[in-house]
């Protein structure tokens, strides 16, 4: 018995996808921006590296429908933070509690 019915075709609507509350990409973007600003203002090197990590994690967890500009801007900001921090002080990074 053929169960197919051409008359009962309905088009797909994106709203029908089950919404899962996943705020990780947004938090990672925010973290990336905060750490980038910290490293630029306070000249802390490890903040800049953590900003790069946060941008990368945010990119890995992002949805396809998310705006790529947001992720890209987060990346650019973190990389510029690293570059500027090292230009200001080329000495190697020291972790504060491991002197």
């Amino acid at each position: 018995m053929d169960n197919r019915r051409q008359a009962r075709i309905h088009r797909f609507r994106p709203a029908l996808i089950t919404q899962i509350d996943d705020a990780l990409p947004d938090y990672m973007n925010l973290m990336g921006m905060i750490f980038s600003m910290c490293s630029l203002m306070l000249k802390i090197k490890w903040c800049a590296w953590i900003a790069i990590f946060a941008a990368l994690v945010g990119f890995a967890n992002s949805r396809t429908t998310d705006d790529a500009k947001q992720v890209l801007s987060s990346f650019m900001l973190s990389i510029s933070a690293v570059v500027v921090t090292y230009m200001q002080n080329p000495a190697p990074m020291t972790i504060p509690f491991m002197q």
Binding site: R4, R8, F12, I52, V57, A60, T64
Partner: protein, 505 residues
Amino acid sequence: MRLAICLVIVFLCFICSAAKKVKDEDFSEFDDFDQDEFVVETPSTTSATLSSSKTQGSKPDVVETEKVIQADSNKGKQKEKEDDEEEVSVIDEDDDSMFDDEEFEASDSFASATSATPDLKIAEVPANLTGNRWEAYQCEAVMIIALLAYLINFLIGRAKNARLATTVYHAQRDLLDRNFALVGDDGQTRNTETDDQVNQMQKESDHLYILWCSGRVAIESMLIELRLVKRQCAFNSLAAIIKSINDTLVYTIDFNKDDMETFVFCLAKKRSAVKLHRDMVDLSQFCAERKSADKKGFPGNYQVLSEIGEASSHITNDQKLAEFLTKYPDAIEYIHISDQYSGMKIQSDQQTSSNAATNTGTAAQQQDALNTSERSVRRVLIVAFNLTPQDGRSLQITSESLPGDYLRFVLQLIDRVAAFRFGSKELKNKATKNRQRIEEQFLKSVNLQRQEQAQLRREEKRRAEKEKVMQSDDAELQRKWEEKEHKREMKRRQPKMKQMKVKSM
């Protein structure tokens, strides 16, 4: 006048002293140092040595030879000369022997002199400027290695997820083609009947793949969601291992109004049953409690949430369900059947608030939105399966055969749900009563919201009036407005009393 004269005198004195100082500094190199005045460095005369090292600092060698010659020629002579500088000291005869040796090195005297001086701090040269520069950047190397490791894990995880999705798709493709007129639709293309056949699941993200199927008897549509573990993120992969989260295959089937009877039912593993009962709007409203499903003889730890007993029995007493659960004990995570499905509690709250208070601007439009707000409910059958490696084989190999069996079971369940009708009218009335009760509660809450909004609007209007009246400088107008306000307050405070008519005799 006197003040001016005093100032002039002070100024002249200052100029004289400055000139003298300059003169002294300028001509200090031509000062004749008496031979007898020359300093012989001893440990006791620390200040003298400091000053002598200062004066002799520029030409240590020349002065030293002079010192030696003079010390030789002027033995026994002691003479102090008062000088501006307090740098002169008496030659100590006992120390003449130190200068007998012509090989006496200047550095030794300086060394003995400096031993008394405080230790000099030698600044440490930063590690990156000595020797091999790049070796100093150890922390940076660790960071870069960590970043590269994360990137590599991202690429590998993403590829693995994509392969899994392809395998699951191919395992179900034939069966889907036989049961649905439309398999795979993104909602964007103009025509569903295209020559380009969809040959993979639609990628929503690196861990979520979907497939839309429609055009079958008894249902409107079926959405297949492949919710994978986030293998592309190293931290999520670790969390999944720790929390023992696995890949899930979820089938969401939408029924028409006529296709399905009105009841709410859920069969779930205990951990999911708790979450669903707490978070799902329809399950929390229509199903009072969770009952264990052990009586049914299902293996594994399953619980039942039921609104209408007959409907629940119809589903759970199915032979095919028992067979499936026996064959795959932990495969089914939950089965959720509902004609009042509206998602999770937080999401449905957001939906109603967005329905009721759209940002359209005017208050009238908001009022209209509230008037037309309805509970958006769907008639759904949701079945969630766990995709886990079976019989010691890898996940990739398992997912070549399992999804086909899962889909077959889902199609059987669809037919069973669509075929069910209430045996008696009482059950139908009971279901209708439950829904009416929930609808009334919903309407009350909407009414309350409307009243609050009206109140807010009234307050704003009054505030705007007040500002307008205050800004206009007409005192008469202000007085009138204040009287009106006062009357309004008094009326509000007075308790509402019934008027009694007094009959005139």
